[in-house]
Symmetry: D2
């Protein structure tokens, strides 16, 4: 951390400020006194230092972090890729391409089982499906809840596909005991209480980037989970909020190589929520794979026109089959070239 002091900082203020830093944070402080200003360089672990605290000092002109504020999620301290293995042997982050597919909402036994069978046949590795749904309106369908979880498990029994589904409150964690991957949605990316409790489980967590979260904030939310002891975090780029209204969100594919460079965690992409339009899912899936994503999570519905939520962005099983073939082909090409 580099701190630039104001020209008017007195010798006494300087000494007292440096003592303060050393005593409170256990860092070593190096001083560089220039002709017009003084710069401090903090050596040691600065992740616990509150940058707001530093800025609030009268004598501080500017402060800048050099070290990233996350440790456990940081590739610098963990150079190898994290590979997450599910109970059936499916691996995420090992260089292969993992396909998660399924309906936005679980609606019925026949719906979810039919979709599960179909996406499995097309090559999906994991079944996605919402039992608890975060909806902007209290009057919109909120999911089948506990019943939805049961239906997902039924589909798992029938197909062998592991399941990923979204949690919305801490008190539900027990209910998610048998889920293979627990998803934290974009709106809960900074629900820190939920993150902390999930950090105490040993479940893989699929953490979606918040609606308008920075890449660093996403990594800090991963850090919340990891700081409690759970290292199995999968990061998910799902589009960010911008002024552009043609798409539901703006898919930020540069986040894929950036996250993979800054962190060792697997990174997947959700082209369905990112664009909100089913006809864009294929091209954005291809682009995500080319950008280096470890997987895709795609909405598939056997009857998008009757989907109880997000129908506009769901693929039909036939469309998914085509996308799966194309992304797998592309992945093979990229692996061999």
């Amino acid at each position: 951390m580099i701190i630039v002091l104001k020209p008017e900082c007195s010798k006494e203020q300087l000494i007292s400020f440096k003592e303060n830093l050393t005593n409170n944070y256990g860092v070593k402080v190096n001083t560089w006194e220039g002709v017009h200003s003084t710069v401090l360089g903090l050596i040691g672990d600065t992740t616990a230092i509150d940058i707001d605290y530093i800025s609030a000092q009268d004598i501080v002109e500017d402060v800048r972090r050099v070290q990233e504020p996350y440790k456990k999620a940081n590739r610098k301290f963990h150079p190898e890729d994290t590979v997450i293995e599910l109970s059936n042997g499916t691996k995420i982050g090992d260089g292969s391409l993992v396909l998660m597919a399924g309906p936005c909402s679980v609606e019925s036994s026949s719906q979810v089982c039919e979709i599960a069978r179909s996406v499995k046949e097309s090559g999906a590795h994991i079944l996605r499906g919402g039992a608890f749904k975060p909806r902007t309106s209290p009057y919109a369908f909120q999911g089948l809840k506990a019943e939805g979880l049961d239906l997902l498990k039924q589909a798992r029994r029938e197909t062998g596909l592991p399941i990923v589904t979204e949690i919305m409150r801490t008190s539900h964690i027990d209910m998610f005991e048998n889920v293979d991957i627990i998803q934290v949605g974009a709106r809960n990316m900074q629900n820190f209480e939920l993150l902390k409790e999930l950090g105490k489980t040993n479940k893989p967590i699929l953490l979606k980037r918040g609606l308008a979260s920075t890449i660093e904030e996403l990594l800090m939310s991963a850090e919340y989970i990891m700081a409690e002891g759970n290292d199995k975090v999968i990061l998910c780029e799902r589009g960010i909020r911008t002024y552009e209204t043609y798409t539901r969100n703006t898919l930020d594919l540069s986040a894929v190589p950036i996250l993979k460079s800054l962190s060792h965690l697997p990174v997947i992409v959700d082209p369905s929520h990112a664009t909100g339009k089913s006809w864009l899912v294929e091209s954005m899936s291809m682009a995500a794979v080319a950008a280096g994503a470890d997987g895709l999570i795609i909405e598939v519905h056997n009857n998008p026109k009757c989907a109880l939520c997000d129908g506009a962005q769901s693929l039909t099983p036939e469309q998914f089959d085509r996308v799966a073939k194309r992304v797998n082909g592309l992945k093979s090409y990229l692996t061999n070239n």
Copy 2:
């Protein structure tokens, strides 16, 4: 709701789609058949209709809501201003200007009591202070938690000021029983599970606009609380995330007259979090009052340089005293002119 159909929509599809709408949503459907396209107009309560469902239909070119999707928060159905009265008689939304002030975090008994006495003397009506703090980093100070709530209550006993403080999880609601106003922070504005539970209490809720939430989404989150039976919602504009980096957020003061026009709920402004810079608080407080805000929530710290969080945006008690005098003077002027 207006639905524009694609030119290729057949007579049979049209009939079936209209039946579908009537049967599922209990709305009346009027049809206007033009030369090149057909437009449907839905009459009745369309708040429960999922716009995504409509868009997903093959035959739909475009769909647009005419009616707002919120009812209980909507001024059309509740023309009079909502006035929220606290147990000590303080009123919010009655045309007066309510000042909420206090430290970002409660740090100690002496700190919070000293600040409480001071802001009360300057004319504050409500003491704010964080016991549970949502922090981007798991390594940053997370608040004194239950002890912080006790210290706030102690400050209330000493000064008579009602208290407002932030809740971060549903399981804490009991602990907040004696709090006068429960705050929902920006990061939890779409924590729908928390909103629903708060809707079952009869506590006034201070609902902050999310980091990148639209005005309509803020009203929909208020609707979540109100749909469960709790009408005591105070809306709070606290800046939105934009590309501008000079300020922490961009304060959207146009939200004040807009929210007051669309809704009957009181609207307050948080200039401290909006700007992140203490020297901007005075001018933005003045502007907020001129824009028609029902109140302000301002961070005050007896020693901003040692504040454990957000020191850079906190006023000293002396600075707050000046701001309070100026905004009260302005409010009197505006009321009489």
Copy 3:
């Protein structure tokens, strides 16, 4: 400017980089060698240093400007407020409130003269009106062009009001010889060629903030004009582009005190374009004055329903009269309190 070098930087690389900086930019370079990294501090005029050039060096970890990159627009080097005086004695930036009002587009002699008389009576100091109109669509009305300028001058003769109108290309500068204030629209804020040419005139320039420009970029565009010798720049906040769709743009009123702190130039606010809705103009005008604006530029049309552009945001003369009275009353109150 503070440059943090990478740990792997060798002694030779360090020496050669420092020589490079000293020779190319004439700055003095101070070195602080820490245990793990080396920091350079550049003393002298760093405004001409290209931050991209520095970042591109292999050995550079991070670089940060401490000094602002603008000089002539910088209050540090010009502490007194700039006051711009028009030929009829109207002053902008002298602590008074200047009202600029008039139609979005000049449409006819009777229209512009009628509006001019009316806004003058309500207390406007300057007549605004578009002769050349930047329109998103090539098929939309593009203004009366040269004829529009003539009509504005006619209205000036009739009322004595100075005129402000927008220029769209360098080759028109001669045509604007008799205009009192030349406006550069948001879309041309970074039309650097136009800025340079305007810098060679001695006309007051009303420089609008770009659609998505930062405060620093606005000041750099002012610097372009001033670097050529023209110090008469009026800055204008007119709303920025965000994800919020309720308003045309999001009015950033915090820009007013920030610009007035960073720069000595006058700052005015355009509530009409910022909101795009006439019913929001009054409250945002009041808020702008409370925030410290030196003036307002407001669209007024004698028949907004027939306005050839931007009717939705224009006030009627009666509405403007009310706004003018209220903002002048507020300004008097603020001056005396």
Copy 4:
């Protein structure tokens, strides 16, 4: 265009409004009178209708365009892909992948010729290079101007590569007579006067998306050029401005399939400016090709560390060679699968 009228609209107002629409715009107006509201549907060419004018009417509740406001750029009216052929036979938009590469700024004869030879050898089809440079600061290097154009032409003579370079003012059009493709930069995307003049030439125009422009605005700017008679427009996605600060801009790759669906014009991607970081260029180039881009424009510098602008985002010739090989391989794979 669909216009929803307010419930209070009288019969007389309705009749007069409809006449107004018919007479002014030559459109046919269909009326659908519902129980609670009346909806008008406009049939015919509504591109010239100003949506602001409609919104400004007292009796209008809401208005929505169904038809896109662009015609010549619209794929609906021009289903075949536009293919632009340069004088040396290079084609853009014919299904192949066109590579444009070269330095941000032309700096010297040896620099530009060396880079040109090198990128040609790696497979580039077109040489890019800036002679006139739009820079945020008036004190930054502004390009070699006319001399830079000469050096580009010299490089073309030596290598046979057509050249693309940016124009910044209308009065320079003659000087660009011998340039193969004229680039309009992001900051000039809505410099409508420049667009109109370029529309009168028969030069291919590379039109970059503005810093914060919507997809529709980009197409409207293309329409400005095309409305004057020049159909040779190449659209370029180069990243948009968001709150994310890790990258210079946020590359919006969904714009590629969207633009290719809405329009028949070729679409290329600039990964260098989009990310601002050379190490992201390779992955984003791959993703752009997978998303369906017709070409890439990439910054290459023989000595990025000494580049006079944008060094941080330039590739070395060796890095470009690798990128070119990879994207060409990917393109072949995609064409054959």
